[in-house]
């Protein structure tokens, strides 16, 4: 018959063994996590390095500003493509962001009913739609009916890609705002839309901006819908109702050409596109970080979503 004291001593030894085992498990898990991160980073890093290595040689003042030269000559640049990308991103954002934000507000603040659940479901489906399908849709709806390729059609197609993303991220960031702020607003006798737009949205701003930037990055690189809508051009912007160039289109065309000089320009264009997207992201983040430097809640959201870019 062993005494309870002896038993406890046994347990202590047991727990000690257990601790050692757990420490090993902890180490193993850590190694697995780090290896996964490295495996994920390798392709990403090598793409970036490759683009920089190959693309930087192409960059020059002429390359950034001139219209494309004759095929295979290695002359000219991607001026119209840069201009076109900026125009089409801007225009799509003007259409897509307000619709997306409003949909997100609806889903989050008025979203406890069947209609909202249905919308949420289709929104999620929509978000995963192949972009070429949206391009064909814009082609059928605008290009075929008007009879010509146009900037409007491109912006329409890209905003279709944009607004489900914005709606979803807006909804998620608004839901993260604690209910007690809404209650405080209600108790102050404020109307619901005032609470939503002046209190809740301002608390959720950072998360919403992350979502908008994600969607901008996404459409910045879209090629398929643009082939169906703005077609591509080798001239600067001439109007809303004619074809226009954009960087993804230019990259696509250049990379298909069998000339080294064209491929070099393709790399250069890819580098420019990456820098533009990166620039928009950093610029917007810097602007809002400076404006809302003291906002702990925003900082938390940013920390939570910052790594996702």
């Amino acid at each position: 018959m062993i005494t309870s004291q002896q038993k406890r001593q046994e347990y202590r030894t047991l727990f000690k063994q257990n601790v050692e085992k757990r420490l090993i498990v902890d180490k193993v898990v850590r190694i697995i996590i780090f290896s996964c991160v490295i495996i994920a980073i390798i392709p990403l890093g090598s793409i970036l390095i490759e683009v920089f290595k190959n693309g930087s040689a192409a960059i020059s003042y002429e390359f950034l500003t001139a219209v494309p030269g004759s095929i295979g000559s290695g002359e000219g640049g991607i001026g119209p493509a840069i201009q076109g990308t900026l125009i089409v991103i801007g225009l799509s954002s003007v259409i897509g962001v307000p619709i997306g934000v409003m949909s997100g507000v609806f889903l989050s603040e008025y979203g406890e009913n069947k209609l909202a659940r249905t919308i949420r479901f289709f929104n999620d489906v929509f978000m995963e739609f192949p972009s070429i399908v949206l391009g064909i849709f814009a082609f059928l709806m605008i290009v075929l009916i008007l009879g010509h390729f146009s900037v409007w059609a491109g912006a329409f197609a890209l905003s279709l890609i944009m607004f489900p993303i914005v709606a979803r991220t807006t909804e998620e960031s608004l839901k993260m705002v604690p209910i007690t702020y809404r209650e405080a607003g209600t108790a102050l006798g404020l109307k619901k839309w005032v609470i939503t737009f002046r209190i809740v949205i301002s608390a959720a701003k950072s998360g919403m901006i992350t979502g908008i930037l994600l969607s901008v990055s996404r459409i910045g690189g879209e090629t398929a819908p643009l082939i169906m809508t703005i077609l591509g051009s080798s001239q600067f912007f001439r109007g809303m109702d004619v074809p226009m160039d954009a960087l993804p289109l230019r990259i696509w065309r250049l990379s298909l050409l069998p000339y080294d000089s064209a491929q070099l320009q393709g790399w250069g264009a890819a580098l420019v596109l990456i820098i533009i997207i990166l620039g928009i992201n950093l610029g917007v983040r810097y602007y809002f970080a400076r404006k809302k430097g003291n906002n702990i809640f925003g900082r938390l959201i940013k920390q939570g979503t910052g790594g996702k870019k």
Binding site: E112, T180, E183, A187, L188, G189
Partner: protein
Amino acid sequence: MTAVTFRHHASFNTSSVSKSDSFEGEKEKKYKMIAKDVTIKYGDFVAVKNITMKFPEKSVTALIGPSGCGKTTFLRCLNRMHDMTKGAKVEGKVMIDDIDLYDKSIDPIYHRRKVGMVFQKPNPFPTMSIYDNVTAGLKLNGIKDKKILDEIVEDSLKMAYLWDEVKCDLKKSAIELSGGQQQRLCIARALAIQPEVLLMDEPASALDPIATQKIEETITELKKEYTIIIVTHNMQQAVRVSDYTGFMYLGDLIEFDETKKLFTDPKNELTAKYVQGQFG
């Protein structure tokens, strides 16, 4: 749990001793708010059972009771806060100055402005400065006159005993304040809309003793002008700050009386046990 005493009818106003539940015979001036036959349900669960209570003007009424007894639920119905809660249903009447808050023709927004509310956890608006927090209820309702706003900010912060600590730094973000300061800021924010009634839901439960003492001093001072209804877990606090106390248990109002009487000479056995700390 049917032994609900309505002794308070007599004890508040000895001139109108009324055995019945009727409110007509009494002078409404004495009472700022009257809750009549209030029942609150969350789906099938009845959280508050048929409570009738009258809140005398310019006094502090405390609601005490063990967790889950429905005191917070009841307090929130006095401001129609349950409109925001899905599945919550309120029956009965809540009269404020003779107007039924639950009358279908009434927009609760007008009456919420008569009733300020302070919540359990300090919840200043995180993206706003101290100044903007205090003026939120006014600014967002369309009052833009800087002179009026400045006056109200100073007045409200003084009433909440926060002015001296923040007067030099009104543009500072509200979340940089300490917990106790944040709660007093929330009181100032509630006072800024010039309410007549102040509802407080365990306003000091998240605070340390010193901040609690400051909040209690604030309450004592505010009672000169406002009708205050406070939910508290802390019986000593109820004794210190309130004039009247209602004891609730499992959704029933067991006893409602002057605080002194309720704590020293409770009529109900359950109340006696609770105030003596035998359960809780």
